[in-house]
């Protein structure tokens, strides 16, 4: 699979390392080259310095037609924009945006973008560890509505907790 990751922080770098090792074609972008120091020397994918919210940069990085597109920078809005660019302009198949504000995470899931919310993820994990009922919004929200472009929301899963690996997103 061709996987594009915007934001080479801890999560982005780890994902890039693991998926590269698993044999996927990985492209990771960050606005700072220092971020790439997190990648192991064995990393065989491409690490490209550039702004992941800029369509030209994403195209030059080869993000068009990616199977998976992950927006994992520290800025919720940057992730939202990169993800929507990928879905609308770059024809990426499965798009996930990290949005740490739960309200925005839910709003964009309703707009057809899969979202990942640290607040929800951590509360999910803590609740599970303590054996308590999930108390917060699930950390990973599958798209529950239609993106304005209409082609990337796909069938609506019955549950919002976790998206099955390989679940089809294309309508």
């Amino acid at each position: 699979m061709k996987i594009v990751i915007v934001g080479c922080g801890r999560v982005g770098a780890s994902a890039a390392e693991l998926w590269d090792a698993a044999g996927h074609e990985v492209v990771v972008l960050d606005i700072s080259t220092r971020a790439f120091e997190r990648l192991p020397t064995s990393f065989g994918g491409s690490a490209i310095r550039g702004d992941g919210t800029d369509e030209d940069v994403l195209r030059r990085a080869g993000a068009a037609g990616a199977d998976v597109f992950l927006a994992l920078t520290e800025g919720d809005n940057r992730n939202v924009m990169a993800a929507q660019l990928a879905a609308e302009a770059l024809d990426a198949q499965r798009v996930i945006a990290k949005i740490n504000d739960p309200v925005r995470a839910q709003a964009y899931a309703e707009l057809g973008i899969a979202t990942l919310c640290r607040t929800g993820l951590m509360l999910d994990a803590v609740d599970a560890f303590l054996g308590m009922e999930p108390s917060a919004l699930p950390g990973m929200l599958a798209p529950s509505g239609h993106h304005p472009g209409g082609d990337h929301s796909g069938p609506v899963p019955s549950t919002t907790v976790g998206v099955a690996p390989g679940a089809a997103m294309e309508a």
């Binding site: 800029d54 369509e55 809005n77 924009m81 929507q84 504000d101 707009l111 304005p148």
Partner: protein, 226 residues
């Protein structure tokens, strides 16, 4: 009218001030508390010192009863999110975004932002009015921002020279309606033969632009090379 302005930079500040002067109800959101206080000292208690991208604070600012939300921060991604939240979460009838990167215009429009203001594009437009370039000139955005008023300057090499509109392959939803020849404007009829130096004024959807370019200016690749 109740206008919610998000972003208290120079643009947001003067916009709020002008709107108040013309008698509108205004709320201004600025996330930097120091800057927010500064503006509040000038214009009064219409300033909300919170991030306008957060749903919670948009609600507090009265987004659900706003007639217009204008997102004028310096960051395109923030302006996009503000407008999308306003539109889809709060049913705001009219959203306006400032766009810095002209390349983002079509994405924003596609994602439902009603009106786009691009300072970069405007300045570019002004410059292009003075120097001859083999491009279509954007004169104005019309309607809800879907339609564009475009001028095409026919220069040597244009495939339209010596032909009339009825012989051209003009895309659906697009109309060539006037021609400026030697500084005189006249209606463009289906059988008006176009000459080198003519300026053709067209109105049409954004999507038609590429086709119009091919028909009136020439092949975009060749033009870019020249």
């Amino acid at each position: 009218m109740f206008v919610l302005v998000v972003g208290g930079g120079k643009v947001g500040y003067y916009l709020a001030k002008e709107l108040i002067d013309s008698g509108h109800e205004v709320a201004l959101m600025e996330k930097d508390p120091t800057r927010a206080r500064q503006i509040a000292d000038e214009v009064g208690s219409i300033v909300i010192a919170h991030d306008g991208c957060e749903g919670k604070y948009l609600a507090e600012a009265g987004a659900n009863r706003a007639d217009v939300v204008a997102a004028v921060t310096g960051d395109d991604e923030d302006n996009l999110v503000i407008c999308q939240m306003a539109k889809h979460h709060f049913d705001v009838p009219r959203t306006i975004a400032r766009v810095n990167n002209p390349k983002n215009e079509s994405l924003f429009r596609h994602l439902g932002v009603d009106e786009l203001i691009s300072p970069t594009r405007m300045i570019l437009g002004s410059i292009e009015q003075d120097i001859p370039v083999h491009e279509l000139l954007h004169l104005a955005a019309l309607g809800e921002g879907e339609l564009e008023l475009i001028e095409a300057h026919l220069q040597s090499g244009s495939p339209a020279i010596g032909r009339a509109p009825r012989d051209l392959d003009i895309p659906e939803g697009c109309s060539l309606f006037a021609v400026i020849r030697d500084g005189v404007a006249s209606p463009l009829r289906p059988d008006t033969v176009l000459l080198e130096g003519d300026k053709v004024i067209a109105i049409g959807k954004q999507e038609c632009e590429e086709m119009l370019h091919t028909q009136l200016i020439g092949d975009p690749e060749a033009a870019a090379a020249g």
